[in-house]
Subunit: 505 residues, 2 copies
């Protein structure tokens, strides 16, 4: 007879083995699956979700969790037990039937989105999205209900819906935590964007020659990813509509996309996904298959991707490293001069598309989504209101109109259709964590810039491994940030980083 | 409370949804997975096998099966119940631990095979294969033990091992059924091969120009597959070491491989896998997810691939259809004349490689494997004996030496390393079924040849759908063959087909 903790380890290992197939199927759906396969895949995924739900929420699990809390456990085991309890709570809060309905709706909606977005077809998309919003509200209600019974600080009712969703991605986070941070950014960034735009308008920018063959871009990006540390013996890189990092440890799968008219969109996406991949690959091997061995939060995950994409790759030193490779692939051209390339990758421009946004305007895209999804969850607005509201906020925050152009407006992201509400804020939390971590990293690495210029990322990765990756889910995100940087999240690091990079302050 | 039969339908549907991920992961492993991912994949696959085993062999399943047999069921439901009982019996016969060990060993061995075969490294391969042979003997013993308790006609002991394995792939088949058929072929084919070789030696054969660009070959083969009826909205085609057909209905995945020095190897493999794919796509949609909705036997499956590859594609009429496409892709060349192409695809030549063998020598490759695997199971030989025995039999049957060339000898197939013993005979059973089915098909289709020349496969597929595909697993293979052709399997059809095609008799 196994002891409760051992029993739980075996159960969570089984859940992790089943998750392997989730990860594989998600990757396959985005990169390989023919459209006709969507229905069968949706059914299989829904059934797999249900099986995982049943395994996780079985009465035995609750019993063993209760018993294990009385066992003599190591600190790691205690952290694992807390992570198990969290997974159990998150899962038991929602009825299996709803989980199944949401998974199936997400599959169908994602597939529809791939067709409807390019067709700018909001009319057919709206009811699909409405169906998902209804399901997510129902899910959020179930979570609020459960949480309010466990925790006296949580009051039942619609008002708590959105916080329950944020907590799914960023454990312990809430709109009360986010609101002042986003208020600060909303107050600071528009003026900063204007200042930088005026300044950059006087700086000559030579357009890059086009077309830049997509296959060559792919090879260039693949080479950069490898140089950053992505191990192609333990992963692969493919094309997809929306870049992502998926797969499992030892078989991590990143994707990107390449536009012959844009040298940097695909390359920077690849570097971004490489950051995610390095975090995954750097998680503690000894804890694989256990909840405590997983990444701590979505925001922390995003901090690793943005640390590589924004903090490391958009530097003059990285351009030094990159420039000869650009010429090797695309020939010599005066527009490939280092200072011109650097101006391209630090160009600030208010545009429609979040994933193509620069780091200054990006938070405004996020704040817009944060406000809309929060209002949707609180039933202050409905799906039909989104296009007009999107346009209004885009005009207000970035001076960009989107009415009638939903494909570049509210249909540009798959997140909501996929049922992911509460996810968007983590992008900007990630940017703030990345700036704060990099400030500490720079202090301990006097030759930070020189190493990047050489294409030597070894000591940077060593620092990240020590201060972030190796912890897995053992500490909270706040603990990890505090241990690594000496203080909890402080948006000053991000704002200062922007002022230094874009205004030489 | 569901009735037992309903309960069983739900349980088998769940098993089918889990099998979805098996199919996906197998395809991925052969076409996409980086080598470093093998260990994690192996663990996940083993766990998935164990879960399926647990779901299938649960006590409740036995109870519900017993109760359902007393219910008033339709004929289809009765057939489904028999198919469920068979799956239960096959699964409960083997302990979960052994299933898990075998799955894990198979994953590791297949991965090792991919490295060791090209390196001709028998020394490292032999212990891996021995480990698998031990596991399969243990599995066969468990099956014999179980079957002998269920069925008074089966005597416990090593002697029954091999029949239990054959039955896994070809339900109801046995070495007693196969022995006289293979004896007939062994007696007939060597003389026939000699006769045809002499005859063909006097027929001029102009070598095809090389290299034939692999990517163009891929596109040609893809186009032919589509013309035959493969639906690329509901499937895809990729490259792999060993061609196969995998995936699930509505997402069928065929693979092939293309050699710039050989126009027909990859093309004919593609046509072969397309035959498998059409059978899968043609299985009754209303029975999907249930055992009775699956293909009846491996031999019958092979008959569909060989019907397309050997019976349809190696005809002068198919060459008329193909020839303009060859010139479109590779330019005009005197060697691309129709009669020369036809001579190429009907050339008989005793060679090392089974998958490259012509239809006359192919059965000799199978008989060799049949004899060796049977002897292995009966412990008349051991793994260490294989290379010498392989060489001896190859010399005797086909005049080909393999000693010291194991990569083109006993290491050429992945089947044994993957734990598949009893599978090989189904290839030749399939060839015989295909010849017999085609003889009937020709009688009902006076314009059989003309339709092929036009690239019109509609009425051929209609006949196959009516007589084979739509039955799923409702009838035994013997019943299907008898209903379709008027008599049980009769090897005369195959021998007559060979004499007609190769000797104009």
């Amino acid at each position: 007879m196994n002891k409760p903790y051992q029993w739980l380890e075996a159960r969570f290992n089984r859940l992790s083995q089943l998750a392997h197939f989730n990860h594989l199927a998600n990757w396959d759906q985005a990169t390989q699956m023919p459209s006709g396969g969507a229905a069968a895949r949706g059914e299989a995924m829904a059934e797999l979700s249900l099986i995982r739900h049943e395994l996780l929420t079985a009465t035995e699990v609750a019993e063993q969790l209760a018993m294990a809390s009385g066992e003599a456990l190591t600190a790691i085991q205690q952290a694992n037990l807390r992570a198990m309890q969290r997974q159990y709570d998150l899962s038991v809060a929602v009825p299996g039937k709803l989980v199944r309905a949401k998974t199936q709706a997400a599959m169908a909606a994602e597939n529809a989105w791939r067709q409807l977005r390019p067709a700018n077809n909001w009319t057919e998309y709206a009811p699909i999205l409405k169906n998902m919003v209804d399901l997510v509200r129902e899910e959020a209600d179930a979570r609020v209900d459960y949480a309010s019974k466990q925790n006296a600080n949580i009051t039942a009712g619609k008002a708590a819906r959105y916080d329950q969703l944020i907590d799914l991605y960023e454990p312990g986070c809430s709109s009360a935590f986010i609101a002042p941070i986003f208020a600060r950014l909303k107050q600071t960034l528009p003026a900063l964007i204007n200042q930088v735009s005026v300044r950059q308008a006087s700086q000559p920018l030579m357009p890059l020659p086009t077309p830049l063959h997509a296959e060559k871009q792919f090879q260039l990006a693949r080479g950069v990813s490898q140089k950053l540390g992505f191990d192609f013996e333990r992963g692969r890189m493919d094309l997809s509509h929306h870049p992502f990092c998926g797969g499992v440890p030892d078989d991590i799968r990143i994707t990107s996309r390449f536009d012959p008219n844009d040298l940097f969109d695909g390359l920077m996406s690849t570097i971004h996904e490489t950051g995610h991949a390095l975090y995954e690959a750097g998680l503690p091997k000894s804890l694989r298959g256990q909840p405590v061995g997983e990444a701590q939060s979505t925001g922390l995950h995003e901090s690793q991707s943005l640390l590589f994409e924004m903090q490391l790759a958009r530097t003059p030193e990285f351009v030094s490293f990159l420039q000869p490779q650009v010429e090797q692939n695309f020939g010599s051209h005066s527009a490939f001069a280092s200072d011109n390339l650097y101006r391209h990758i630090t160009r600030v421009s208010a545009g429609h598309i979040r994933v193509a946004a620069d780091e200054l305007t990006y938070p405004m895209h996020i704040i817009l989504r944060y406000e809309i999804e929060q209002a949707l969850m609180l039933e202050q607005i409905e799906v039909a209101d989104i296009p007009a509201l999107w346009d209004e906020k885009m005009q207000q925050y970035l001076g960009v109109a989107t009415l009638g152009n939903d494909k570049d407006g509210c249909m540009q992201d798959v997140h909501w259709a996929a049922g992911e509400f509460g996810y968007f804020p983590t992008y900007t939390l990630g940017a703030l964590y990345a700036a704060q971590l990099t400030a500490s990293l720079r202090k301990t690495q006097p030759d930070f810039g020189a190493a990047i210029a050489q294409g030597d990322f070894g000591s940077i990765k060593h620092w990240l491994s020590q201060h972030v990756w190796q912890h897995g889910g053992r500490y909270t995100t706040e603990q990890i940030i505090t241990m690594a940087t000496g203080e909890p999240l402080n948006p000053d690091f991000f704002v200062n980083h922007l002022k230094r990079r874009y205004l030489d302050e």
